[in-house]
Symmetry: C2
Amino acid sequence: MTRLPRAENTPPADPVGFETHDHRTCISAATKAAETQCKAEGLRFTPVRRKALEILLQEHRALGAYEMLDRLRDAGFGSQPPVAYRALEFLVTHGFAHKIERLNAFIACAHPGASHAPAFMICRECHSVAEAQSTRDTLGDAARSAGFRIERTVLEAEGLCPACTETADT
Amino acid sequence: MTRLPRAENTPPADPVGFETHDHRTCISAATKAAETQCKAEGLRFTPVRRKALEILLQEHRALGAYEMLDRLRDAGFGSQPPVAYRALEFLVTHGFAHKIERLNAFIACAHPGASHAPAFMICRECHSVAEAQSTRDTLGDAARSAGFRIERTVLEAEGLCPACTETADT
DNA sequence: TCTCTCCATGTGATTTTATAACAATACGGA
DNA sequence: TCCGTATTGTTATAAAATCACATGGAGAGA
C-alpha cells in the first residue's frame, strides 16, 4: 500500500499489531462483512455509516471525531459535529469500531464478530493503537463478589510501541 | 452513549466497593499516608494538592475536574480550570488518584501504595465507581509478542452496580 | 399505491472538558 | 541570603461532545 504523507504526530502507516500488513483488500472485505451483519440484524448501513467505517479502515489508526468529520465533509456529507458523532456511535454500538477513551479517538475493530472484551495497546509517543484479544477475564471474581453485573469491558494499556522503543533506546 | 444529567443521578452516598463503609477516619488516614509518601519521595504536598485529595476522599466517588474546581474555589483557592487540572494531575501521576477515562472524572485511589494496574467497575446508571485490584496480567503475552512495552494499564468495566441492578430488576 | 410513522440526516448553537501562555510568588539548596 | 526552579493564579482559547429542531427518506400496513 502507498504510504500517505504524514502530519506532525501521525502514527506509522500501518500500526495494527505494529506489524506490516497489506490491507488493500481488507477494507472492502470488512465493509462487506459489516453490510452482511447489518442486514442480518435489521440495521441500516447507510452511506454516512459505511463511509465512516471505510475511513477508519483506510486510516488504520485511531481517528478523532473531528478528523472523521473533516473526511466526511470532504466526501460530501454534513459538516457539523453530530454527523461524525452519530456515525461513530453507530459503529461502536454495533461492534464495528471501538472508542479509545484515552485518546478520545475511534478505531475500526480488528476482530469483528469476535466476542467483545477488547484490549488495546496505545503508544504514548506516536499514538498508534493495536487491538488484542483479551481472552482472560481479569475482573470476573471481583465483580461477582461485589454483585456488579459487567456488561462491557475495555482494557487500555499505555506504553511504547516497538518503533518508538527503538527510537528511545538509541 | 447516553449521558444522564449528573444531578438527577448522583451515586449513593458510599459507592466504593458498593458496600457500606465508614470513612470518617479514612480521610485523615489516607491524607496522612500521602503526606508520608510525598516526604519520602521529595514531593511537595502543597495545600491545593492536599485539599484536592481530601475532597476526593470526602466525596468518595468520581468527580469531574470542574466539580473539583468548584470545591477548591469554595476552599479559597484559585477559580480557573488549571488549578483543578494541575492538582489532579499531581495526584494521578503519583498514584493518589486515578482518572476514569470513561467518565472524564477522577477518584481517590482505593489501594494506595499497591502496585498499580487498577481495574474499575463503573455503573452506567448511577456512575458509581469501584476500584478492584487487577492482579492478573491479561495483556502481558500479547504485548511481549508484539514488542510493546507496557508502562501503565487501566481496565474499565461498565455495567450495573448492585443497587441499580435491584432497581432494574423490580 | 398511498400514507403514516419512525428513524436518520443536516444545521446552528451551546455545553463540557482540557490546555496554552505568562506573570507573580513561594520553596529549598548553594 | 541569593538563585534557580517549581508552583500558583489568571486570561484566553482550543478541543470534544451534546442539545434542539427542522427536513427528508425508508419501510410497514391499509
